[in-house]
């Protein structure tokens, strides 16, 4: 937690807009030696469940394996490229994650997210579009889910991290 922050009781719409519109966030998981390992990922905010889902291929399973060992994660929303948002806040989400050892291949349950990916990332339609990519890229469609439940959300209006952030403790929120 920063030395000082402005604690608030609810999540403002400008922060939810970031969750909905940012193409990527930076997901940090903890390696075996405790080093935070951070890679960009596509976040899906499920507002009704008040949690995020990110998915990863079993060919890139290390982040899920890290979560199974230590559930502490963070998501930083700091790159607004392509979001269409003007001067959005930078948002840091710290929370607990779970990564069930269940390989998903079906679109069922992920249809909305998959459509979002194809809308945002048109070139990814090439994956699996012909026999060659279906043969050599089938691993990409063998997915693991990582669900992140926020415990604390910090945001810096306008993305200015030199300002005092706002803070929402989700374990205190209604």
């Amino acid at each position: 937690m920063p030395r000082s922050s402005r604690v608030v009781a609810g999540l403002p719409s400008e922060v939810e807009d970031v969750f909905e519109e940012f193409r990527t966030c930076e997901l940090s998981t903890l390696a075996r030696d405790g080093t935070p390992i951070t890679w960009p990922t596509l976040p899906f905010w499920r507002s009704a469940e008040k949690r995020f889902t990110v998915t990863t291929s079993i060919g890139l399973a290390q982040k899920a394996i890290n979560v199974r060992r230590n559930p502490r994660v963070s998501l930083l929303f700091s790159d607004p490229t392509a979001s269409g948002l003007e001067a959005p806040p930078a948002v840091l989400v710290q929370g607990d994650a779970e990564a069930p050892d269940e390989i998903e291949t079906s679109v069922a349950g992920f249809a909305e997210e998959l459509r979002k990916v194809y809308r945002w990332q048109p070139a990814s339609r090439a994956y699996g579009s012909n026999p060659l990519t279906r043969r050599f890229m089938d691993w990409y469609f063998m997915r693991l889910s990582i669900h992140v439940t926020p415990r604390r959300i910090l945001w810096w209006p306008g993305g200015d991290i030199w300002q005092e952030p706002f803070e929402l403790r989700m374990d205190h929120a209604g």
């Binding site: 490229t81 079906s106 679109v107 993305g159």
Partner: protein, 152 residues
């Protein structure tokens, strides 16, 4: 390693520094690291006074994408974050190339490695290679109109 990091670092406007806060939770912040002359492998980082990150294990990520979430480029440096009277510094330990680093040979290696890792993941669990429902996936593609964004 410093030369390799510096070469790639200058292709990005900023980096994401990740460390641990006082409760041991991962925590990230955008910063602009630059090579420091005080040590052969050290990067100086400027962090806000109230930053929750504590000295200790850390990593530095640079990544970018275009308006169509393509032309992905990324790399990660594992290392350690230090603080002294002169401020914050990041001591690199391992350079890990990500997307778009190393050209076509690296991309081919990446795909082959991912396929191998997927096979190992399945083998370790005694699972047969799942059948991918291509019809469902192609239907999802057709459900979205193709509208790439052209922005200079």
């Amino acid at each position: 390693m410093r030369a390799e990091i510096t070469k790639h670092l200058y292709q990005f406007e900023s980096a994401v520094l990740s460390g641990l806060d006082e409760e041991g939770c991962p925590c990230s912040v955008r910063c602009r690291p630059y090579p420091d002359t005080s040590g052969p492998e050290v990067l100086t980082v400027w962090l806000p006074p109230g930053t929750p990150i504590r000295p200790g294990p850390a990593s530095l990520l640079c990544h970018s994408h275009d308006e169509n979430l393509w032309n992905l480029k990324s790399f990660l440096v594992r290392g350690a974050l230090k603080k002294d009277a002169g401020g914050w510094s990041f001591e690199p330990g391992q350079f890990i190339p990500g997307a778009g680093i190393g050209g076509l040979p690296a991309m081919v290696r990446f795909f082959i490695n991912c396929r191998r890792k997927a096979s190992r993941y399945l083998k370790k669990r005694g699972l047969a290679r799942p059948r991918i429902p291509w019809d469902e996936i192609n239907a999802a593609k057709r459900a979205v109109s193709y509208q790439p964004i052209n922005k200079s």
